[in-house]
Subunit: 130 residues, 2 copies
Amino acid sequence: MAGADLPRTPKDFRSRCSIARTLDIAGDKWTLLIVRDLLWHGKDTFQALQHSEERMPTNILSSRLKRLVELGLVKKEPYHDRPVRYRYVLTDAGKSLEPLLVTLMNWGNIHLGGGCFDPGAGKSVTAGGS
Amino acid sequence: MAGADLPRTPKDFRSRCSIARTLDIAGDKWTLLIVRDLLWHGKDTFQALQHSEERMPTNILSSRLKRLVELGLVKKEPYHDRPVRYRYVLTDAGKSLEPLLVTLMNWGNIHLGGGCFDPGAGKSVTAGGS
DNA sequence: GCCGTTACTTTCAATTTGAAAGTTACCTGT
DNA sequence: ACAGGTAACTTTCAAATTGAAAGTAACGGC
C-alpha cells in the first residue's frame, strides 16, 4: 500500500504537488459522485448510476467511467452475455477514496447545509440526500 | 460553527447531497490550489498566487478569487492606495478547508507519487512540490 | 515624460459540457 | 418470426468554460 500504484507517469501531471495531482484526477463535479454511488449507494450499473439525484448526462457518465477504469479505480465485470452488460466495481485504490468523500461530506454538511450519509450505518442523516 | 454559514441558497445547488454541494463550490482543478497557497505557502497577492508551480492563467485566477470572495471563503484587504492593491486572506470558513487539503494531499502522495507538505512544520517532504 | 512593473481585464479560439437523438442488441409477447 | 420495449451506450451539436495572449490602468523610478 505504498508508492504510486496508479498507472500514470509524472508528465501526465501539472506539477509534483499531491493536491494538484489528485485534482488532475478527481478535480471535477462528477467523478467523485460516481465513487460515492458505487461505494455507499449500491449502484453498480450504468443505468443505476445515471438515475442518481444529480442526473449526470449519459455521455459524461460514460467518459468518466472509462477514465476511472483506465486509472484502475474502477473495474467492470460482465454479468450478462449477448449483449454484454457490465457491472462497475471499485478496486481497492477506488475504495481508498472513502476518507476523501467523508471529508467533502463533512465540510458540505457544516458549511452548506447539505445532507449527510453515514457509511457505517448505511443510511442518511440530516436533510436526506447524501 | 454549526449550520450553513456560506451565503448560498438551496436552489444554487444541484442536489441536497453534501458531497455534491461541496463539489459545486470546489469541484474544479484550481480553486483548492488557491486555498493551498493562501493557507500554507504564504502567497497572498495576485502576483504571488499566479507564480505558483501550476501557473494558473490570470483570468482563471481572477475569476476564482472573485468567486471565493463572494462565497466568503476569502476576503481582500487593500494594502496600497492609488492604485489600490489587494492582499487576499482566508476567512475562518476558508481555513476550515484545511482537512480537505490534507486528505487530498495524502491520497495523491500514496497513489500518485506526489510531493507532500507538512502544515505543522511548514515545509515539504518527499519529492518536493506540494 | 518615458520605461518598467503590478494587477488585472478583455478577447477569442479551442476544449469541455450536457441535452437530445441515434445505435445496437437483447428480451417478451404473439 | 416479427413488433415493441428496454438497457447500455455513442454520436451530434449548441452552449458554456477554459486558457493563451494581448490590452488597460495606475503607479514608481529615473
